[in-house]
Structures are given as C-alpha cells and as structure tokens.
Amino acid sequence: MENMKPETGSDCGYKCGMLPMCAPLATSWVPPQGENPPMYTPAEALNRGTLFPGLDLPFMNMVNKTNPYAGTPLGELMALAFMVKELQLYLDTHPDDKDAFKALRDTLALKKEANERYVKLYGPLKIEDLENADRYSWLDGPWPWEYCERMGK
C-alpha cells in the first residue's frame, strides 16, 4: 500500500505508528503518531477538522471542500487559530518535536498579525483587543452564535 511506505519520523508511514515489540498483557495501546508528520495548510486543516493527513479519517468519505468563512479575514484567523490548537495537542504528547514547536511559533506570529488586521476592520475578539479602541465596542454584534448573512465579512 502506498501509504504504508516510510515517509516520516515513523518507520511505517504517516498513516501508521510504531507499537512496542512486547507490551504487558491487559493494557491497551494506540500507535503513537510519528514525529515530523505531514501537515495540511491552515485553511485545508480547518476544512478537514485536523491538521494531520494521517489522522484524517472521514465517515463514508464525507469531507468538507471549504467552509463558510473561507477567504475572509475571520476565516483566515480561524484557520491559523485552529492550526495552533492542533499543534498544541500534538506537542502535549510530543513535547520534544522541534519542528512542530517551530511551526507553533511561526503560526502564533501569523495569527497575531491576522488578529490585528481583523480587529482594525471589525472590532474586538477578546477584551485585550480594546487596548487602543476609541469606545467600548465589545458589545457590538454579531455574537459568534448568531446567523448573519455577512458573517465572516
């Protein structure tokens, strides 16, 4: 199988992981994801629900090709925030993966810029965003759960 070939830090391909040769009875094991796994772009990751092609296991092959905010300033920010979240969970169980940590730092820098661009155009996403605001715009709509034709802008 194509995807069984070794391509990453794991010896058995990015869709598989290495289990211990010998493990105690009466224990359950999940193959750990190998280091330096292949990653989607931030926008693609948000559509798919994971940053990692190896973990992308859709039900009956139903996958999202896009999302309602794709190509908007909020969509760009959401994609970067999602990449940060995925790298954070990955690093929680792979804290020594230096490439993933570098990817986290780079993504955090991009997210900071995207956040600043969004706030300048559309208002605060967190209370700290009011630091240089001219009025208390925290209450301006829409709130995230509201249906809005222009949402994402």
Binding site: P20, A23, P24, A26, T27, S28, W29, V30, P32, Q33, L46, R48, G49, T50, F52, L55, D56, L57, P58, F59, M60, M62, V63, N64, N67, P68, Y69, L74, G75, L77, M78, A81, F82, K85, E86, Q88, L89, Y90, D92, T93, H94, P95, P124, L125, K126, I127, W143, P144, W145, E146, Y147, C148, M151, G152
Partner: protein, 198 residues
C-alpha cells in the same frame, strides 16, 4: 481562569430553519456523549493526574470541548430561529418547545436533562484515560449517526468537523495512556494507582 474569545473554532452558518434536526442534534449539547459532558469530564479529571503532560493535555482538550459546546448551541439556535407554530408542530418539536421555547437547554435527544451521571472521574490515571478514549468513540458514533439522519449541508459541514475532532482527541488520549503505561512497573502495571500512590 478562563477568558472568552468572540469567535467559534469552525464557522456555523445555517441558512434554513429546521427544528426537526435540532430535536436530535441537541444530544451533542447536553446528551450522554455530548460536548458538555466531554468538557466537564476532562476538566474535572485533570486534578488528580500525576504528570504535567497529562494535566496539560486534559486542560487543552477540555477547553476545546467547551468551545464545541458553544458550536453545537449555535447549530441549535440557528436551526430554531424564526420558527412558526406550524413548523414546530410538523417537526415534532412541540415537546421541547413547551418547556424551553427557542432557548437552548442541555438535554439528551430523548429529553432527559444533562446529568453528571454520564461522566466518570475515577481518580485513577489508567481508568480515567481509558474512559476518555471510550468517550471520544461514543461521541464519534453519535456524529456518524447525525450524518446519517441530517440532509442539511450547512449543518453537516459543522458535524463533520466536530466528528473529526473526536478522532484526533482519541489519538492524543491513547498516546498519553501509552506514555503512562511505559513509566509503570512492566511486571505489573496495576501494582498501584499512579494518580494516588506516590
């Protein structure tokens, strides 16, 4: 502490009112394998965990689940906006409506209110992580079932996203369990409870 970000993790933008879908999707808000149960399970279990790595992982996944709780609420809110009494009766949403109108209440699809009886906090590292893996699988199955029942693409986009998160969380809990097992006495990993015995 927690602080609020005025944005969802994945966008919820549902064009058509459809209380018939809200009737069963509400289970992922306050049902037995829903997002509230997930969040409170992990955020409550983390206090007895023995390592910084485990405390970090359960905090980070528990916080994400709280965001999913808000996403499912957004689906319910948008599916029930501007609904008419005729639509409510036709959808069979009347039993919910009479108690909660168009409010979003954490309950099972069957009407039972959210209950902590559906979550486990055992205070044992292996037991709690094994429960968490089971919980992620149960939530995934629930999302699979929702995808079988819902024909609204605006809803299904969000459900597909949430379903995939269950797969990723299962992987991370499994990796955390493996790291825990490796540190224990390999002749008898059940010699003691790593959350309680030092």
């Amino acid at each position: 502490m927690f602080s609020y970000i005025k944005s969802l993790e994945y966008p919820v933008k549902i064009r058509n009112t459809n209380p018939a879908l809200a009737k069963f999707i509400i289970s992922q808000y306050g049902g037995p394998d829903g997002e509230l149960a997930a969040s409170l399970r992990y955020l409550s279990q983390r206090y007895s965990l023995p390592t910084p790595e485990l405390r970090g992982l359960l905090t980070d996944i528990g916080v994400e689940e709280l965001g999913h709780f808000e996403m499912v609420a957004s689906i319910i809110h948008q599916l029930t906006r501007d609904m008419t009494p005729e639509e409510i009766k036709k959808a069979g949403f009347d039993t919910y409506f009479v108690d909660h109108t168009a409010g979003v209440y954490p309950q099972f699809a069957s009407g039972t209110p959210w209950t902590a009886a559906t979550i486990g906090v055992k205070g044992d590292t292996i037991t709690d992580l094994t429960e968490d893996m089971g919980a992620e699988q149960k939530a995934r199955t629930t999302y699979d079932n929702i995808l079988r029942l819902s024909d609204d693409p605006d809803v299904n986009n969000v459900i597909k996203f949430l379903r995939e998160r269950e797969v990723v969380h299962f992987q991370r809990f499994g990796e955390a369990l493996g790291k825990t097992l490796e540190k224990l006495d390999q002749k008898n990993v059940y010699y003691m409870n790593p959350s309680f015995d030092k």
